[in-house]
Amino acid sequence: MRRAILAFVATVAGLVVLLSFKTASGKSTNRPVALAGTTPSDQTASSDNSAPSDNPAPAASSTPSSQPSQPGQSTPTQTPTQTPTKAPTKAPTKTAGTKTVTGSSVPVTEGFRTFGNVQVQVTVSNGKITKLVAVDYPNGDPRSYEISRYSIPVLGQEVLSAQGTSIDIVSGATYTTEAYAQSVQAALDKAKS
């Protein structure tokens, strides 16, 4: 028996954000299916790997090209249907079995307002996500910064726990979720290629 984890953005037709399979033997041998061809490993994601949690702020300066939009900026249509437009800023870095890739910069929106962008850097070792760093997140105003400080680590933890730690699911909504998931998927697509 194995477990499939399939996530997608409900407002974007057919967009698969995360897809991974886990052999349900009690060992955390999950591997993202997006990385087909890589070898599953028994490596367990430690809490240290939720690196974005501890220090999101300095990372923001590493992407000067993606300035968060100011709150109040209006967008012509419902933005969840918007597709990521920014190309990954970093080419995949390859060491033996380990890849670090940066996903697309994805706008965070609520209703007609855009609060900034989320961009996630994903490290994959032997087919397993071992580290997630948010290199950009909404921080153009104090409120957005507070929300990012809170939600980005939770999202990173959710991706890691989807790989087989003791928590299966997280309840508690964040609008940042959608943008985060899209950026992670873009990074996984990059890692695969």
């Binding site: 997608f8 928590i167 508690g172």
Partner: protein
């Protein structure tokens, strides 16, 4: 709706194609719901109904079903759950939980009894991820970014969280028209996600009065956390949850 829905399905390797097919059907259902109910889409039935371009009878039959549910839930919550906002029909507060619940039913009916559907933090869980255990659902803490408020194990049930931790205070007390501020988040665990989600929103609007209100609601348990970090839980909640020490 602009949210992320994730599917977590426990199944045999041999069933991978069946899982994909069932998830595809569930995804199509959610897109259909979005097309009918989104208040952000000018061409949705709800938008056209609000603009007088469509009569209720001409809407998708789903619209009537949802408004019937809305009126039931409004009664159950003493009017704290409301399907109108700023004078317009807006059943959004109910549609997410309801559509995720139905998506889960589609998976169940497709022969997948062990799965979990998470719609933007509102969770419908059936069976378990492995034989012998239910789904472990962690509840985010509205104030602490590095920890969870509680973990509940759910076999056939729902967990919904409503909070003010996101963009401002989006839950309004329908009696005062003012944003609800007494509680930072409310999590409701119960048999049905449609109600768990709507009850969480209503309880947030009620504030501390919700604690007493839950006494009369059978089968639903709640955890609430105030902006100062002090929380309360219904007696039933503490018996099913692992609370951090």
């Amino acid at each position: 709706m602009g949210t992320v829905v994730s599917f977590d399905v426990s199944a045999d390797d041999a069933d991978e194609l069946a899982v994909r097919a069932a998830v595809k059907v569930a995804v199509e259902w959610l897109h259909h719901v979005d097309a009918v109910f989104s208040t952000y889409r000018p061409d949705s039935d709800i938008s056209r109904l609000n603009n007088g371009e469509l009569s209720l009878a001409a809407c998708s039959p789903l619209v009537g079903q949802v408004f019937e549910l809305c009126s039931d839930v409004a009664r159950e919550t003493r009017g704290y759950f409301s399907s109108t906002f700023a004078g317009r029909l807006d059943p959004t507060g109910l549609v997410k939980g309801w559509s995720v619940e139905r998506a889960s039913e589609l998976l169940r009916d497709a022969g997948l009894p062990n799965h979990c559907v998470n719609g933007g933090g509102d969770v419908c869980a059936r069976g378990g991820p492995d034989p012998g255990r239910g789904w472990s659902v962690a509840i985010t803490h509205p104030l602490r970014r590095d920890g969870f408020a509680a973990v509940v194990e759910v076999r056939d049930g729902a967990v919904a969280t409503s909070g003010t931790t996101e963009r401002g205070l989006h839950v309004v007390n329908p009696f005062t028209g003012r944003p609800a501020t007494q509680l930072a988040s409310v999590t409701v665990v119960g048999p049905d996600l449609t109600r768990a989600d709507a009850y969480a929103t209503a309880a947030l609007a009620m504030g501390d009065a919700a604690r007493e209100w839950f006494d009369e609601i059978a089968d639903y348990e709640a955890l609430a956390i105030a902006p100062d970090g002090v929380g309360w839980a219904t007696p039933g909640f503490t018996s099913i949850a692992a609370l951090p020490t």
